[in-house]
């Protein structure tokens, strides 16, 4: 009964997360982070490791709840915990010389699917990130302001000192073309 209630509560939290509600994110974060922190510390990790791993797990969760067909089969805590274990295992394997792997981490954790699906998306994210960074200022800011922060061309023109919105728009198109080139150069070699 209790577990059932927990899952119901978890579902509500996930719905909130999908809608981008800050409150849900905050609850999920603060309730689950201590457990993951403890696990990472136990396996020779640092606080920063715990933060990175946990946030990556939340991103995986976020990407999954964006899909409509996602349904939680286990408790949220269990899901996050096993994804974090898996991520940490992978990281520890990468830096094999850095960390000695403890025995109990090497057991099979049923989170492989989630983590591998995430990795493709993660790569796209990295390409976009580096493309944006390589464009330089003010292009990066103009594109971020227009496409991500949804500012109007008028605001952007004022911010960057363009005489009118039309000029700013032309500048934006130039930047977009460069971004397109930078992004697809790498994206197509994927």
């Amino acid at each position: 009964m209790k577990q059932h209630q927990d899952i119901t509560k978890d579902r509500e939290l996930l719905l909130g997360l999908a809608k981008g509600e800050d409150k849900s994110l905050e609850i999920i974060y603060s309730e689950n982070f201590p457990v993951v922190l403890r696990m990472i510390l136990q396996h020779n990790g640092s606080e920063d490791d715990a933060k990175d791993i946990f946030q990556e797990a939340i991103i995986i969760l976020y990407e999954k709840v964006q899909n409509d067909d996602f349904s939680l089969s286990s408790r949220l805590k269990t899901f996050l915990y096993s994804v974090c274990r898996h991520l940490w295992l992978k990281k520890a394997q990468r830096n094999y010389n850095m960390y000695s792997l403890s025995q109990d981490l090497e057991e099979i954790i049923p989170a492989t699917e989630e983590v591998e699906a995430h990795q493709a998306k993660d790569q796209e994210f990295r390409i976009m990130e580096s493309a944006l960074q390589n464009m330089g200022q003010p292009c990066q800011t103009i594109l971020e302001d227009y496409y991500l922060h949804k500012k109007s061309m008028q605001e952007i023109a004022e911010k960057f000192g363009y005489t009118n919105a039309e000029n700013a728009k032309n500048q934006k198109y130039k930047c977009l073309m460069r971004l397109k080139k930078l992004f697809f150069d790498k994206y197509k070699t994927l």
Partner: protein, 364 residues
């Protein structure tokens, strides 16, 4: 360059639905006929989608960082470390206890088994050297016919060959027989057989476990007593004196000859002799006689570690025992009369003696 920008502008308008109906139809037509433009549209769509996802994720990460910064990290860390240490200590303690328990078990088993083995060895050491020479009669088989015949002839022992066998000899004319205590131990019933094949039922009337002697009395009314030809020697024999015995190691009476090899018995027992004489299972309770035909002892057992060493209880001890018996069971003092065997040669001695040596059969 300029054219590209115009195209981009158009694509954006197309995707965002800012075009008028006519423009959109024209653009659709353009996409259909010009694959390059179609590809540009698809790429643009993908780029914007990627850009949006990037933005979402950035946004999420920023939010998470904010939440993370609000958490009391040092406190969480301390808590986590404390819990980890506790868990570790518990694991170590559990492991230690398990190991200790295993070690203790092994130590216990080892010491117990050592003690058991040592005790067993110590016991075996003394018993192993001494062996009773009663005979286990499991090699004799009788047919059903014999069993039926048995009803017609009451003079014979029951068809069952008996479980154990030994030897005994008369110590009085009226049916008292001496044998070894271990021959009749645990007996349900005892039969004695003489050299003519006549069997009599006997009962044990006195047993002395310490010297391993038992006195039997023939309980059959058909038994007729006769005077004994030999007497009981009360003095101890000297070392090296020649002795002989008659016993039943098999169904036939067997003669054996030897000499006194020591004045004490097994483990320095002063009531017995050590005799160098061939002794086999079944000889238990056989009389030991000197060259004059006087009874000097009763064969009881032999040493297993070396051949030809037997032990016999001294006749003086038997005499002592007979004197000590309760009055109502008193043996007639037949043994103190004159010895009739003196001066005869061995063959004649044995001939006279035979009648008074019995095979003892024990059923249990």
């Amino acid at each position: 360059m300029k054219d590209d920008m115009i195209l981009l502008h158009e694509i954006e308008r197309y995707l965002e639905g800012e075009m008028s109906e006519a423009e959109r139809i024209a653009f659709d037509e353009l996409r259909r006929t010009n694959p390059i433009i179609d590809q540009q549209v698809a790429e643009h769509q993908l780029l914007l989608q990627q850009l949006e996802q990037f933005g979402n994720r950035k946004n999420l990460q920023a939010k998470m960082d904010a939440i993370h910064n609000n958490l009391d990290i040092p406190q969480l860390r301390n808590q986590a470390q404390a819990e980890n240490q506790l868990a570790k200590r518990l694991t170590i303690r559990r492991r230690t206890i398990t190991n200790l328990a295993a070690a203790a078990c092994i130590a216990l088993v080892t010491s117990l088994s050592t003690i058991a083995v040592m005790q067993h060895e110590a016991k075996k050491k003394s018993t192993a050297q001494y062996e009773d020479v009663r005979r286990v009669l499991n090699n004799i088989q009788r047919s059903q016919n014999v069993l039926i015949n048995d009803f017609n002839n009451k003079r014979r022992a029951p068809a069952n060959p008996g479980t154990y066998g030994g030897t005994g000899f008369a110590v009085s004319g009226n049916g008292y027989i001496v044998t070894n205590c271990h021959v009749v131990a645990g007996a349900d019933s005892v039969y004695v057989l003489n050299n003519k094949g006549e069997a009599y039922k006997a009962v044990s009337v006195f047993e002395d476990i310490s010297s391993d002697l038992a006195i039997l009395k023939i309980a059959d009314s058909s038994f007729k007593g006769q005077p004994l030809p030999y007497s009981l020697k009360s003095q101890n024999l000297k070392l090296g004196e020649e002795v002989f015995t008659l016993g039943f190691p098999r169904d036939e009476v067997v003669y054996g000859k030897g000499y006194i090899s020591a004045k004490t018995g097994f483990n320095g027992d002063t009531t017995a002799y050590q005799v160098s004489i061939p002794v086999n299972p079944g000889n238990s309770g056989a009389p030991l006689l000197d060259s004059k035909g006087e009874v000097v002892g009763i064969v009881t057992g032999k040493q297993t570690t070396s051949d030809g060493i037997a032990f016999a209880v001294k006749s003086a001890h038997l005499k002592h025992l007979l004197d000590e018996m309760p009055k109502d069971k008193q043996v007639r003092k037949d043994l103190s009369h004159k010895n009739h065997l003196e001066g005869l040669n061995r063959v004649d001695q044995i001939k006279k003696l035979e009648e008074f040596v019995y095979m003892i059969k024990v059923y249990n």
